[in-house]
Symmetry: C2
Subunit: 419 residues, 2 copies
């Protein structure tokens, strides 16, 4: 089957790889509402540093646009709208809604509209599709087709790229499924057909919940073994000599997936009268891990509240994971903001992060240079590889009687410097 004219709505971490990959061989229009992003991409600049100018420019059939109406020539639309949570930790479907309204303005007969965002089972058909129908008057499977194909993008991962990872697809009926299968088969080797849209939606959301719960479990170990005066990292290292032990590490779960997606499923579960105890217990641990560490540090450093408020503290690493510039939902920033309540001389240092954005988020405390013999306490949170280069400077910045804490190595405060 000949595929032509694909529109991609949203050119972030998920949309851009799709647009570039399709654009190598098929006429593809990439659309985003962010004018700065559009201007950058037109110049071949991806501020997320996932793609070089050469790769973007080599996608010869890709056209970047900020005009929604440019998409009305498309036969396929792929929607990569963000699905965050609101302050009550409930799904915020406003971006999906906006996309549906936008699409209803450009929809044409027989268009195939595919959602890639992480959602709970039912959103594609009963929310997204329904809005399109309400606004356009067109009917699913009669006038247009719906599909769901969850993104599995892992930012910074050069091995599990879009083309190499199995793509799950699903359609509103058999015709839709076939069309969507053919579409993705043009760029992806292994396409897996899910039984129906809701099964694919459920499969996507549980992938990230599994990681969240497993990290929560090792965070629970961290807290318990800290209490028992055992180093949790030693215990995990020993356990991981077993052939089937799963090597998860304690962490400040952040980002826009693992810490967010579980709330999509728990929200739906609650509306259906089911209380998902385990998933919520996991969320509770991960959402408060930064508070646990701060309280335990204050205890260990053994100063009065007033004394603690005055010492000079440096946090190393601000992004949501190591070797990645993304600051969204960063656990380190949550840690920084919480620790600020107890301390008046708090600095944060992260050469990997976008400095302008970092300053905007933290307001004060961002440093670019480390003063020598300055800090009483250095806390390593996000172990960027690049810190190795800064090793001397970091160690010099710690006072001679200063203390060092590496969350990823120990539960103890140490005299030993960064190594």
């Amino acid at each position: 089957m000949q595929i032509d004219k694909i529109g991609i709505l949203g050119l972030g971490y998920v949309g851009l790889p799709l647009a570039i990959s399709f654009g190598k061989s098929i006429h593809c229009i990439g659309y985003d509402i962010d004018k700065i992003r559009i201007n950058n991409l037109k110049k071949g600049i991806d501020k997320n540093q996932e793609f070089t100018k050469k790769i973007i420019k080599n996608s010869l059939k890709l056209k970047i646009t900020g005009r929604l109406l440019d998409l009305n020539v498309c036969k396929y639309l792929i929607v990569t709208a963000p699905t965050p949570i609101n302050l009550n930790k409930e799904p915020d479907l406003s971006f999906i809604k906006k996309a549906a309204i936008d699409i209803s303005k450009i929809i044409k007969k027989d268009m195939v509209i595919i959602l890639e965002s992480t959602v709970y089972p039912g959103v594609t058909e009963d929310f997204f599709g329904k809005i399109i129908t309400q606004k356009s008057g067109l009917i699913v499977n009669k006038d247009f087709f719906l599909g769901y194909s969850p993104e599995r993008i892992n930012p910074g991962d050069k091995v599990h790229t879009l083309e190499r990872v199995t793509k799950v697809i699903s359609g509103s009926n058999n015709t839709a499924t076939k069309k969507i299968y053919n579409l993705y088969s043009k760029i992806i080797k292994k396409v897996h057909i899910s039984k129906n849209i809701k099964t694919a939606e459920a499969a996507k959301v549980i992938e990230n919940i599994q990681r969240d719960v497993n990290i929560a479990l090792v965070n629970e170990y961290y807290q318990l073994f800290d209490k028992l005066k055992l180093n949790p990292h030693d215990v995990l290292k020993t356990a991981s000599t077993k052939w089937n032990f799963l090597n998860f590490k304690p962490g400040l779960v952040g980002g826009h997936c693992i810490g967010v997606d579980p709330y999509y499923l728990t929200y739906l579960a609650k509306t259906k009268g089911y209380n998902p105890k385990l998933i919520l217990a996991g969320r509770e641990i991960n959402d408060s891990m930064h508070i646990y560490i701060i309280k335990s540090l204050i205890k260990k450093i053994n100063l009065s509240n007033k004394g603690f408020s005055k010492i000079k503290i440096l946090i190393l690493g601000a992004t949501f994971k190591e070797n990645c510039s993304d600051l969204r939902n960063s656990g380190s920033i949550k840690f920084f903001n919480e620790l600020k309540k107890y301390n008046n001389n708090l600095h944060i240092y992260d050469p990997v992060a976008d400095q302008r954005l970092l300053k905007k988020i933290t307001k004060i405390g961002v440093v670019n240079n480390l003063k020598a013999n300055y800090y009483n306490l250095i806390i390593l949170l996000v172990p960027h590889k690049s810190f190795k280069k800064d090793k001397k400077k970091i160690n010099k910045s710690l006072k001679l009687d200063g203390q060092y804490y590496d969350f990823n190595k120990s539960t103890k405060l140490d005299k030993i410097r960064f190594s």
Copy 2:
């Protein structure tokens, strides 16, 4: 270093492989309090069917005994006492205590005493070792040595055998650690030295907790997706097309490890003032999964209580896992006992299980033959391979309007027979 005279206390699933393996090249004395077990093993019979007569007989330097005093020539003692839980779901250390008292009767200067049982951090030194000292007057690291080396035996697994799996060891001091390292290195390729005994104890107990929590998570999915009218097996199959998705399956967690070990750590945690929410949430789900399934089945079959009590029901599979004869802590037996409260015509069929023991446990309801055209409902719980051979007989035993439920395939009652 020359190793000689090893005593193994307890010749069950853990002790027997050790005794057989050491006995191939080193004088080894295997001891058990179960006289029937001793008589059988002397004849080369392992009722657990893990070892053939030939293998047992070929362990030429192994001597089997029921006399404790025979162990007093040993330089090393390895203790494989069971560590179950009591009715309050708290650790039952009575077997460990008995072993310590027994050992104090035969202990000699410089003996190395190693515990292999799953325990919580502290049991080896602060409970087991302490009792030996109290009873014998001998002091650890002065008069004798202590060690902990957790068993990683996986019954029925022919790949991950004792000799092939990395063995974690730990000792009460450096001398003990060296001796224990040398001991196990005689039969095991990869020996991992743990930092100390408590770290090794903690590592062992979290290995099984990880499995328990992950199964609890998919059990939670099972319950939620059942409510959402999605087949959880379809969802899991779809998710498992992702490269890092962990392929756990819903299950009636039973056996003497996964369903028991978490309570060892949670008990210790609570005595130290820490409430392990996630581990306990996992236990709660797994411990009540059989009740969930029964209630959901009764709802689906849509009969009055009286009507349900009268239908003829058959359960397939009674052991704690498939293709294994072990009935201890079987989830299927728990299911059977619970379902009996609602139904008066309940049968159970399991050609793999020890029939005598099965009859003893269930009292009534065990069948060896399946009557044709007899059952209104057949429930497949434990999918033994051998059921495939019985396929025709099983399908014939279901009435024409009977219903079939396969826990491992669907949440639905089905007209489709066993296939």
